[in-house]
Symmetry: C2
């Protein structure tokens, strides 16, 4: 089996490490796997080779993809469209091409090719760069796959098996549903973190005469704002590429916040009590829930 | 010096442990400190004595407070008013009475006594009960004090010194300003955590056909919702006792969210970029800022 990894940063490098560490059989083993990597950043490509994330540093997309059974495009969201097209142009008729982008609908709409199946592993993101890549980055993580009606069933099955070799659990979902779900599970928390820090800075300036910032900030505030101002280049692309679903999630959050205002204004202890108990049950439900993997 | 601790849960127990562990002099030592404790829960009171959080288990508020130089009322928010009044009734003219409640204005408005000075240590909260009490719970933490115009300067100074002995940094602030600040730094993050889990559960049911809950929930979601549905009895009291400031903070958050909606609807990449960069700078500002202690 030949794997192509286009873009050898944190995610691409971890795909290579995971595949190579599981090659050669054994429990969950990937059999004989050869990983060809390419990255426009020569330094990253050299580092990936030195770290053992790839067997071979290719000198271009075509060289990496030629003869591959599976190609993962792990380019930044902004460069994804072009990179996927280039990979498909170089890939053979029996090669499945996937990506690892955080939103899936825009790409699914743009790429009409039975060999392309979008993907999104729920891992990483805190750090960047191949030097943080790990063979166990995907261990136990959900890895969303968003096949279209035109996607090849044979290639989907091969992609699912490959992802299982990497240690992740493949979960099939429609591209638009994936994006709406991520609006609530990932994009909205990032927006709220930004909103919290901005409000806190203004409140601190107002209430503490700007002489010192808040302190005070207990663990709930620190946790809720840990991702505030996350990598701007990455996140503005994510917000914009999922703007419709994110606007819907924001409208939903605004409605809920207005509901809390009404309960407070009415001093409705019973309603606040029920609302908080419901949130507790929901948090426990989410914490305990794991997605049924496809198989 | 004689300390009275009324309510020997996590906070009251930690006050006792901190005071007794620092008694006897040495660097930052508290000299000779005697801690009398009282709790209507006899089991908690016995545990506090066994754990060494108090020297003496008093059989009532009056017995604990008689002869005390400093009395800390560490009762639940709902029982705070009555407990403070009872402590003041039993306390001598030279005893300073303080509390550890999360909101300060309601109590400040209700208690007009030069011996009372509200307080709020920014520590604890994750767990409850004297069995989680620690001598170092307040080490380096800010401890807000909200003296009124009528408060005795001599008693404020004694309270400040006592808090320093416990390892905390006393920070004086006006009671209403404290509550507005906490609305942003603590109460709003709790409300947003509830809103996030509710939205995520609905989205999961809708997009995943209710067959399994979200998964996917990366670390940003888990961190942002860790306090969702926090202790309902405690938090409904906090929300209601600070409802005016919390409604203002919620209105401010809603305005900011509507601003994000407008940037997304207009596909305004430049504005989103500037907004996210500002949030990054603000988060760094908050993380680096420590309140100048009063002295």
């Amino acid at each position: 089996m030949r794997l192509a990894v286009l873009g050898v940063g944190l995610i691409g490098g971890s795909i290579g490490l995971a595949a190579r560490s599981r090659a050669g059989g054994g429990a969950g083993g990937g059999g004989d796997i050869h990983v060809a990597g390419y990255d426009p950043d020569e330094r990253a490509l050299r580092a990936a080779l030195e770290l053992g994330a790839i067997d071979e540093a290719a000198d271009g997309v075509a060289a990496a993809v030629t003869g591959a059974d599976v190609a993962f495009v792990a380019a930044p969201v902004g460069a994804l469209h072009d990179a996927v097209r280039e990979a498909l142009a170089a890939a053979g008729p029996e090669c499945v091409v996937s990506d690892v982008g955080s939103t899936k609908r825009a790409l699914a709409d743009a790429i009409q090719d039975g060999r392309f199946i979008g993907g999104h592993p729920l891992a990483g993101a805190e750090t960047a760069g191949v030097e943080h890549a790990r063979a166990d980055l995907f261990e136990g993580a959900a890895w969303y796959l968003t096949p279209a009606a035109s996607s090849s069933a044979v290639l989907l099955e091969r992609l699912r098996r490959t992802i299982a070799v990497l240690g992740a659990r493949p979960v099939t979902i429609e591209a638009a549903a994936h994006d709406r779900l991520m609006a609530h599970l990932s994009h909205l928390p990032h927006v709220l973190a930004n909103v919290l820090v901005s409000g806190a800075v203004r409140a601190s300036e107002r209430e503490q005469h700007g002489s010192w910032g808040p302190v005070g900030a207990g663990p709930s505030f620190r946790d809720a704002t840990r991702v505030a101002g996350a990598n701007t280049r990455v996140w503005v692309d994510i917000y914009l590429s999922n703007r419709e679903a994110l606007i819907e999630a924001l409208d939903d959050a605004i409605d809920r916040l207005e509901g809390v205002c009404a309960m407070l204004a009415g001093e409705d202890a019973g309603a606040l009590y029920a609302w908080n108990e419901r949130a507790r049950a929901e948090r426990e439900q989410l914490a305990g829930a794991a997605p049924a993997p496809d198989s």
